[in-house]
């Protein structure tokens, strides 16, 4: 996706808020999250440097909006992943959620970086809220609860199990996106790693043994 710059003969952009968010993604991809600035985003959108203020208020506003977009995408993809799998055992749905999380990071590196890896206070504050609100965390909790109901997981282990799963997915996503896994273990396709990390047999055990 490329930034839609303003039509040359029009004073108003028409879709500046979106164009700026696209620009933010490009900056993160090209130069890292630390390089994001209002002025650079405005430049890429073909607009004066003061224009973003009309849409996002200030820099924090733009960054939070970008993260919000990411959380929406992530939660939608997670919901989609298990929407068509209601009749499947919970451990398989959990595997789907984990793989979806990692694929989201792979396909939306800029969003993943901003959402989870910048360490900005404004992002941390917003992220907690987003994770609770948008349903991604509820899907994990709910599916783990089904595992308990099905007698495959002790009730007292539900939280630890959820944490372990989230950690596995988050760590895989982080190291993969960083390029650490490809560097240390060349020639391992992501899908192979996902098979191993979230494969049915493994999760079945984890549920039983925790």
């Amino acid at each position: 996706v490329s930034v839609e710059t303003k039509t040359q003969d029009s004073y108003h952009h028409g879709d500046l808020a979106n164009a700026l968010l696209v620009a933010v993604g490009e900056i993160v991809d090209e130069k890292g999250a630390a390089a994001v600035s209002l002025r650079e985003a405005a430049r890429r959108a073909g607009v004066s440097h003061a224009a973003p203020a009309h849409h996002f208020g200030d820099k924090d506003g733009m960054i939070v909006a970008f993260c919000h977009q990411g959380f929406e995408i992530l939660s939608r993809q997670m919901a989609d992943a298990i929407a068509g799998a209601a009749d499947v055992p919970p451990e398989e749905r959990i595997a789907l959620l984990g793989a979806t999380y990692v694929r989201f990071a792979d396909e939306h590196r800029a969003h993943f970086d901003m959402m989870f890896r910048t360490g900005l206070d404004v992002v941390d504050d917003a992220s907690h809220h987003e994770l609770e609100e948008n349903g991604g965390m509820d899907l994990l909790r709910g599916t783990v609860a089904e595992l308990v109901e099905a007698g495959k997981l002790a009730p007292g282990d539900a939280e630890a199990f959820a944490v372990a799963l989230w950690s596995q997915a988050h760590g895989l996503a982080s190291l993969w996106v960083d390029g650490a896994i490809p560097k240390m273990f060349p020639d391992m396709p992501l899908e192979d790693i996902l098979d191993k990390a979230f494969g049915e047999s493994r999760l079945g055990f984890v549920a039983a043994s925790l």
Copy 2:
């Protein structure tokens, strides 16, 4: 640890390089990795802003030196963790390595952030080298190899197993240090989580089932 500022009546600091690295850690802890600057580090060390150049050349040099320090600590802690456990089964040593990795992140948040989470090119380039050189990765590989030798893991699964373990430890460390786990799952002590994530029974299975 606090920055040792220069003795007031001495022109030379005496231990400026170390004092600057301590200052970097404080800045990361207080204001995030993005706030690290040569001038702020010099300020905290009680020295003129041009002084750091004599020790680290430029800003990248200072950051790489800080990361290098972190990799040294991590690899030493990992080596120590299994040094006294040579007679223990490999799956238990692997659990020790994982827990050590997470505890390192918990106890050295600033270093962990800089080493793995800034996304700076200069850090990424150095980190790959450090991980290979300083032995941390070798410890993981070596212990996984023992698992294979002991017939507890198929040779073809060794790499995937190593990736899964590293991911589990890295994700747990990241989410814990971010405060995401405490926020989503309050009142779970880190040691409890480590027990569940790297506990003997779980790893025994993972080795057998991958």
